[in-house]
């Protein structure tokens, strides 16, 4: 088992001091190399869940085990290191750094792990996503679809065990949408990386063998 969530709860505290529960997930598991699509209405806590899995935010309580390590027990810098080495993240808004070239954005994905950045791998990944001719372009000079492909390459850069993709195709057109989904699924399969993908698009969701409805695994009903 790669990912194990047990009794994970997350609440936000509102300015008036009252508690706003968002997540209460008794159990959620993902196997190594598994591909899961996560759906749910807007505001039900999908992004919040991915942040907790990535260690970007802390659960209010519960255990988040990745490859046997409970990241809820680690201190912050250990979690950062852990994330650098084992988790890739693809965002709806790509989140590339605009002043870095495509190649440098991918290299940046390797910078904070334990190993030295591997330029050849970065180039190979960009080639894999079809951008070998765009290595020195900076994001503003790339098309929207190209930007998201750079983001996919960056997420794979450090040979992670798990990729979290938060609505990766919400900002790209329908033609590019399928390309990105295919690319993500194929590369994850090639590198034996597990994938959790959030989407609002039924045509994307229906391609996955495993579809999870957050409302079903989450005991906090009705969201906010």
């Amino acid at each position: 088992m790669l990912l194990q969530l047990r009794e994970v709860k997350k609440s936000f505290f509102q300015p008036d001091g009252s508690e706003l529960p968002i997540l209460d997930i008794p159990e959620f598991d993902v196997d190594a190399g598994d591909q899961v699509v996560l759906v749910g209405r807007s505001g039900c806590g999908k992004t919040t869940l991915l942040h907790i899995i990535a260690g970007i935010s802390r659960p209010t309580s519960g255990r988040v085990k990745i490859d046997g390590w409970d990241i809820a027990l680690m201190d912050e810098s250990e979690v950062d290191q852990f994330r650098a080495e084992r988790i890739g993240y693809v965002y709806q808004t790509f989140n590339l750094l605009p002043s870095f070239t495509a190649l440098e954005n991918v290299l940046l994905g390797m910078t904070f792990g334990r190993e030295r950045p591997d330029r050849e791998r970065a180039k190979a990944l960009l080639k894999r996503v079809g951008l070998e001719h765009r290595l020195t372009h900076k994001p503003p000079m790339l098309s929207v679809g190209e930007q998201q492909r750079v983001a996919v390459a960056r997420a794979l850069a450090n040979r992670p065990q798990l990729i979290l993709a938060d609505e990766p195709t919400a900002n790209v057109d329908v033609g590019n949408q399928q390309q990105i989904i295919d690319l993500l699924r194929e590369t994850c399969r090639e590198e034996n990386v597990a994938l959790i993908l959030v989407t609002h698009a039924p045509e994307v969701a229906e391609q996955f063998d495993r579809v999870e409805y957050l409302e079903k695994i989450n005991l906090v009903r009705g969201g906010r």
Binding site: T93, N95, S99, T111
Partner: protein, 470 residues
């Protein structure tokens, strides 16, 4: 990818703001460099100028004034000492202590360059800059027995256009005062450049200098009672110091007139001698402004140390070590002026540093999202903090490097002016050791001013900043 590169990219992203802050840093550093370099060069040049003479002997008075006038051809011309004292110094009880003693007489100029009466030994026996011999670019040294011969320093030759074979009429007094013109001297030699104040002077035979007024009998009243009453002993009214002088010393001519004339400083004129004599002027009618002394290297150090006092006492003159006087002057006046300028320049650097802080701090709200992205890629809080500090250091050091170039460029622009005014030639590419302190200094400053924005970066909330649209 190195953190330096990440910091550098962030600077590039805000190229204009970064360039402006770095530029203000460059200006501050350029000023610091200019102050350091110019002071260093002045310091060095003054110290170099003092090399070659162990003692300067002259009439009692301000020792610094004596050294500045005798060695650097600057400032007021001091009162004269008697020829007897000179004679006693060279031939009397101190004869064994002295290797070379060159008399000089001041009080005339030609186009602003001082005309100095001296003996050919000045160039034949003295050395400069620790052992270099004077050389002639053109012509030869003047002759002992040719009273109207002259030798000109390299800079003076270039500026006045005088060449070997030319004649010139020295003018009494300093450049600003229009004194009467004297009989012409003939240039027989042009000195090769020495890098010492002697480049900016004209040297004439001391005998000719003594004769100078003798051939203009219709000279106006300001010429000297002593010219009429040749040996009448009389102490000088205007110069209190001269009262201490031997009563038998012939009176000094022009000092009273010179003093009352105009501004202090450059103005003072005191002719070594203004007497009617055609040839072989008797010694008791001669006066000397100063004697440049090189001591016999064989005398024991205690004697060497005691000599200035002994000479001063025995001969009723002052004997001063020029190096010591210059050292005092450089540490005192010049050092303090430099300190004030340096403090001002450093304050400009600090203000530029605060500019860096404001610039990075203001960019922080735009960069929250990028910081969150880098954090999500696995960078630690401390890593982000270091990146911001590196950015501050890069701006400070980059500006500092530009300032170094600018500062030396500035001294390059100023060096001809300095050279003209003081005879001190400034090499703009002469780096001073003290400039090295700029590097750790700027790093400390950059770290201090980068700290506040770095803490802001450190505190960035990743989850919130990621959700916030870029």
């Amino acid at each position: 990818m190195s953190l330096w590169k990440i910091a550098w990219r962030s600077i590039q992203q805000r190229a204009l703001a970064s360039a402006l802050t770095a530029f203000s840093m460059a200006l501050g550093v350029a000023l610091v460099v200019a102050v350091i370099v110019i002071h260093g060069v002045i310091d060095q040049s003054f110290r170099r100028g003092a090399q070659g003479y162990d003692l300067i002997v002259g009439a009692k008075g301000s020792p610094l004034e004596l050294v500045l006038a005798a060695v650097y051809h600057l400032g007021r011309v001091p009162a004269n000492m008697s020829y007897d004292a000179y004679d006693e110094l060279v031939n009397g009880q101190f004869a064994a202590d002295i290797e070379v003693a060159i008399p000089i007489c001041l009080g005339d100029n030609f186009k602003g360059f001082r005309v100095i009466g001296t003996t050919p030994d000045m160039f034949a026996r003295l050395e400069y800059l620790g052992g270099r011999k004077y050389e002639f670019a053109e012509g030869r040294n003047f002759d002992d027995v040719a009273p109207r011969e002259a030798v000109i320093g390299a800079t003076a030759a270039r500026k006045t256009g005088l060449k070997v074979g030319d004649t010139f009429r020295p003018v009494h007094g300093s450049a600003a005062t229009r004194g009467e013109e004297h009989e012409p001297f003939e240039i027989v030699g042009v000195l090769a450049p020495t890098g010492t104040p002697n480049d900016r002077a004209i040297f004439v035979n001391i005998e000719g200098f003594y004769q100078m007024h003798t051939k203009s009998p219709e000279e106006p009243d300001r010429a000297l009672p002593a010219m009429k009453a040749e040996t009448k002993p009389k102490s000088q009214a205007a110069d209190p110091q001269s009262k201490e002088q031997d009563e038998n010393v012939p009176e000094k001519g022009e000092s009273a007139a010179g003093k009352s004339e105009d501004e202090p400083g450059e103005k003072q004129e005191s002719h070594a001698e203004h007497k009617h004599h055609h040839e072989g002027i008797p010694d008791e009618h001669k006066e000397i402004t100063a004697v440049l002394v090189v001591l016999n290297p064989k005398i024991p150090p205690p004697r060497q140390i005691a000599l200035p006092k002994l000479i001063s006492k025995q001969l009723d003159v002052q004997a001063v070590a020029p190096a010591e006087q210059i050292d005092n002057m450089l540490r005192g006046i010049v050092g303090n002026v430099q300190l004030v300028l340096l403090i001002l320049a450093v304050m400009i650097v600090v203000v530029a540093g605060i500019g860096i802080m404001v610039s990075i701090y203001n960019s922080m709200s735009d960069r929250r999202h990028e910081i969150a992205i880098i954090r999500a890629l696995g960078a630690r809080r401390t890593t982000i903090m270091v990146v911001v500090l590196l950015e501050s250091i890069l701006l400070a050091l980059g500006g500092g490097a530009a300032g170094l170039v600018l500062g030396h460029g500035l001294t390059g622009v100023l060096s001809p002016i300095i050279a003209d005014q003081t005879g001190v030639s400034v090499n703009p590419f002469q780096f001073q050791l003290s400039e090295l302190i700029l590097i750790p200094g700027l790093i400390v400053l950059a770290t201090a001013v980068g700290y506040l924005p770095a803490v802001v970066a450190y505190r960035t909330d990743v989850a919130q900043s990621l959700i916030a649209s870029p």
